[in-house]
Symmetry: C2
Subunit: 187 residues, 2 copies
DNA sequence: CCTCCTATGTCAGTTACTGACATCAACCGT
DNA sequence: ACGGTTGATGTCAGTAACTGACATAGGAGG
């Protein structure tokens, strides 16, 4: 018999989601989450760098998918097309990992809490930086790589927001296509 | 004679900048800043919602300038051009308020501290939302307004980053023009 | 001269973290 | 089988970011 119940991390993850939904992010302490998961607060902070990270603990990071897709993109594609292809791949991955309702519930929590919005924005900025670096790897010059990365991530954010809003029946990848078309129409 | 020295807020502002430069953001406590400004920690938190806000306490908010410029934009302009015009106006305002060296020093502090990056991203997101709302006011439809706002803010961020980097002798507004040209060339 | 207003001080309390050290099942080599 | 090592956890004390409640006293206004 194991010394402790297995999958402490998983228990904390679900406990956190439950508690955030019940009492809100600010209304639940790290100790609350730990208690419901049957561990101590100290253990919580061993698994998550801070309280916010519980909501951002993704095994299959979107960044990686974006980077891989950019690295594998067609030589003929423009930088913007490469990034859009990347975020589309990430969208496919994300939609496989979660149902829209799961994503929407998480989104509701994040949108209700500035501290969580900040963290989400930081993750998006990391994705932008990763895309930019991947473009540089493909030989895209500096001001262009930055702008293309921003554009691609903007497409992703717009698409995601529209997807979870329920304003459409489209899947997330199709929302990406839609947002990409909007971006192209801008100029 | 006044009961206290006047301009406590201003003293805290400069004390914070000094201390962050001397000991780093994480190395200075709110109490340190208050002490150097000759007030108590409690007073610090009465003036600033949290420790991060000391670095983001701008009297003339960039958002306002962007919004005003969009409201005043030429009827013929495309949504993207409206936002770019807005961030250009903000760039002019910012360059009037601070020297490049001041902006660069502040940038160094922010870039060295994830917590401050998050806050900066939140401010940029607020600017995006403000621009989007201003576009909506001008009758721009939803997916387009969001993408145009993202694009314009991306231009601003790229321009600002290039300006403070010292890689060019251009002024901030000219960096905006440059970044805008890069964005237009993307498609 | 009295009164309210406002900026500040004081103090106690909560919560997010962090470091140091202890514990003990499980695993690994002999 | 036995002993040493490892790794995930517990325990505990401490720091720092805030927050609420209440006290204080100059200054403005009647």
């Amino acid at each position: 018999m194991a010394r402790w119940e297995p999958d402490a991390r998983g228990r904390m993850l679900t406990a956190a989601l439950e508690l955030f939904a019940e009492k809100g992010y600010d209304g639940t302490t790290a100790g609350d989450i730990a208690a419901r998961a049957g561990v101590t607060e100290r253990t919580f902070f061993r698994h998550f760098a801070d309280k916010r990270e519980v909501l951002f603990a993704n095994p299959n990071s979107l960044d990686e998918m974006v980077v891989k897709a950019i690295a594998a993109a067609d030589e003929q594609a423009t930088p913007l097309e490469m990034v859009i292809g990347g975020v589309r791949a990430a969208a496919v991955g994300l939609a496989e990992a979660r149902t829209r309702e799961q994503a929407a519930q998480r989104s509701r929590i994040v949108e209700a809490t500035p501290a969580l919005q900040e963290r989400e924005l930081l993750k998006m900025a990391a994705m932008t930086a990763a895309a930019q670096a991947a473009l540089a790897e493909r030989g895209v010059g500096e001001p262009t790589a930055a702008m293309a990365a921003y554009g691609g991530v903007a497409v992703f954010q717009t698409a995601f927001s529209r997807w979870v809003s329920g304003a459409t029946d489209l899947g997330l990848p199709e929302c990406v296509d839609e947002a990409a078309a909007t971006l192209r129409a801008l100029t």
